[in-house]
Symmetry: C2
């Protein structure tokens, strides 16, 4: 049965009614699961298929995000008021998807936001997320001018454009703000800090919390998936898993239930900066309090001392989070805390997160998760370099690095026939520039075992 | 009491006799431990202080490697028969140490091995390790010409030169070779494959195993620390934790006891390529079978599909291994499987492993482990960029990346006074190019909280 026949119902409502949509079938095929199993997981709210009907009509390929599917990764992109052009950000979006990003979030806060978003939604086939508060604030002089009506207008505009999931910081309530006072880095979520400022100055409750039911109605109408923002995520490991973070998470759990009662699909966002040993607890408590709604984490970074390398500090945390049940990992690039990512930062971030997600899927023993590893390892043993490259997460980089090693060996005065340079590239000799023939373990092993 | 008074005894023998050496005192100071505690750990064989007496005399600063001390990282360097010059490798050694490598291994297999090693030992203050089989084979036409006498001669020569620890593949016995037949990538340890070939062709037992007591006598004389090599470590995740690997590890446990009976300090090497979920078991079984001798692991890589990024695939595994009790992490660089590392690969490898070791030390709750994170986070909240850089693992890279972001913003047409470019670098404005003033979470938080 095709979703198109049910345009007034969400994937969640259809799943609860026992309907297997064509989107569920697509997810089942991609994930090697039974369609009925996928329907059941969607019905229970443990799996979401962010697929705005207006993006579906333009060619979105549905993807499933949940704890029973492969771990997904998201790449954040978008301009800032201070830098990066529309074209440049658009090229980064395409590049991130080419490298394997499963979803992208357009976090533009600069000029021409509608234009860049429509161009993205017209072009890309993966789910697209936004933080609608950014555009709202960009269109105002100051966040303090924000009204629920203005915010609802922006959300509906983005929903009509086809945005598949939206982050809204509904769970940060006014009485939580004092909990952040003892923190080392306060509130580091942009949305969280904006709404905190709004609440403090106006002496009013979180407007996204008070307008939650109206927001749900818009989300339901287009089947926009909730991504309940964690405005109080820790911004350094000293602030991890503190009272502020947990108080917000508890409220997010109540909002998960309210969103589902409206028929909306929902995921929950998580930290941030968390020491390795606290990561399993962070995943477990989200599952318990939020009825196993898919957990969408940012990293987390496992140490604060490596600016310039936060794709690595956080890939460690992301892999552990996914191993313990996080459903989607929001990438962090080397430029985190320093500036907007350039093309190479996007590459480093996406590949680091593909690694984290894949390593976790292997550890979770998902069926077939290690097949590609096996094929690449066989190619490695067979000295089949081209096949190794083809099976790599980033074939271009692997091929380039090997060529540079060959060139360096050649430049060091090695000649063809002594096993270096061109002769290796020919694939005739079963060793590489790392070890040379006498020290090649795979060659010596073959000699030993007669294989 | 100074070690110099006991030049005929090893750290282990002195510890067992109740002596606290000046090296133990240095380790206690560095690690914020009590000297008596350090002595006790050395006596139990749970902590080693690789400090060849001939390197000590030339200024070696002793370091402790064990499960109660901070996690150490090692950088492998050295030329190959096919590439890299002596000067170039020497510069990499100095660079790795400057970036924070706690020990270096000279794995040269090319020409002028003695020359490069003596230059390293004369210069560097960190423990230096080798795999003496490499030089032995380099000096022969073929590994098949190897004799125990020749090997002992090379080991003694290196011990006299001042090498602090040596990897020898003593535990790979002849009857284990058939266990490797079903493997996807066979034997990937260079030393392991060489000794396997030697055993198969000569139909004799492992010469390092049969000469183990004689080797111990040389090691004891100079207080060279054993690093019992894992010749059967898995070369892909499909081969992880298999019968071959475990059979060798069991023998290494017996050799740990024999080495200690000779008065030798000893660590045990470990894998390699291991799925995340198997890493804790790998550490636990080593501790059980090897009487908690310090475990020195190579990564492990948690997936095989990312050549060009194996510093990341393995930093994930290394962090988990250290969290569960591995004492030292041998770095893996981006060029692993592709070629010898260049300077930037060395940088990436060392920093990735400093991150893994530090993240694990935080998770292990070592006293003061997170102090630097706290200071950097405070500097971040205070927009004190220079202090952030100074506290970073790689200040130069962090500074450069921020400057590039500022330059990009400037080039995008931003002017001074609108909060971009130079004015940010001046430190006057409390926001950065990522978000700009309106979206700066730390600025908005300060507004909200009145801080």
């Amino acid at each position: 049965m095709r979703k198109d026949d049910h345009t007034t119902m969400t994937q969640l409502e259809l799943a609860v009614n026992g309907t297997i949509t064509s989107e569920m079938e697509t997810v089942a095929r991609t994930e090697r699961l039974e369609p009925e199993f996928v329907r059941g997981e969607v019905a229970l709210g443990r799996l979401v298929i962010p697929a705005n009907q207006n993006h579906l009509q333009r060619g979105l390929v549905p993807a499933g995000i949940g704890s029973k599917t492969t771990t997904k990764i998201n790449a954040n992109l978008g301009n800032s008021p201070l830098s990066s052009s529309l074209d440049c950000e658009f090229r980064k979006v395409l590049f991130a998807i080419e490298l394997g990003a499963d979803t992208v979030m357009d976090l533009s806060t600069g000029p021409r936001i509608d234009e860049i978003r429509c161009k993205i939604l017209d072009t890309v086939k993966v789910p697209v997320g936004t933080v609608p508060l950014y555009q709202t604030v960009e269109e105002l002089n100051d966040v303090l001018e924000l009204t629920p009506a203005k915010f609802l207008e922006v959300v509906e505009r983005q929903a009509k454009q086809g945005v598949d999931y939206m982050t809204v910081h509904c769970g940060l309530l006014r009485d939580m703000i004092p909990l952040t006072a003892p923190r080392v880095t306060g509130i580091v979520s942009r949305g969280g800090s904006l709404v905190a400022k709004w609440m403090q100055v106006h002496q009013k409750e979180n407007p996204f919390y008070t307008a939650f039911d109206e927001l749900c109605e818009i989300f339901r109408q287009y089947d926009v998936t909730w991504s309940l923002g964690d405005g109080l995520r820790p911004g350094c490991i000293a602030d991890a898993t503190d009272d502020a973070q947990l108080a917000e998470l508890k409220v997010l759990g109540t909002l998960v239930r309210r969103a589902k009662a409206h028929g909306c699909q929902v995921m929950v966002e998580g930290p941030g900066h968390v020491p390795m040993d606290q990561i399993p607890y962070n995943v477990q408590v989200e599952k318990r309090w939020c009825d196993e709604a898919p957990f969408y984490v940012l990293g987390p970074l496992t140490t604060d001392i490596a600016p310039g390398y936060d794709h690595i500090t956080s890939a460690i945390g992301a892999a552990i989070a996914a191993q313990h049940g996080a459903a989607m990992l929001c990438y962090v690039t080397p430029s985190e805390h320093l500036g907007l990512p350039n093309m190479d930062d996007v590459r480093q971030g996406v590949i680091a997160y593909k690694i984290a997600a894949h390593a976790a899927d292997i550890a979770r023993k998902l069926p077939g998760a290690a097949d590609r590893d096996l094929e690449l390892s066989k190619a490695r043993f067979d000295f089949d370099w081209e096949k190794q490259f083809a099976l790599s997460l980033d074939p271009g980089t692997a091929r380039r690095m090997r060529q540079e090693a060959l060139d360096a060996a050649e430049a060091a005065g090695q000649r063809r026939g002594t096993g270096c340079g061109g002769s290796v590239a020919d694939g005739d000799d079963h060793f590489c520039t790392m070890c040379g023939p006498k020290f090649c373990s795979m060659r010596n092993f073959r000699d030993a075992i007669g294989r």
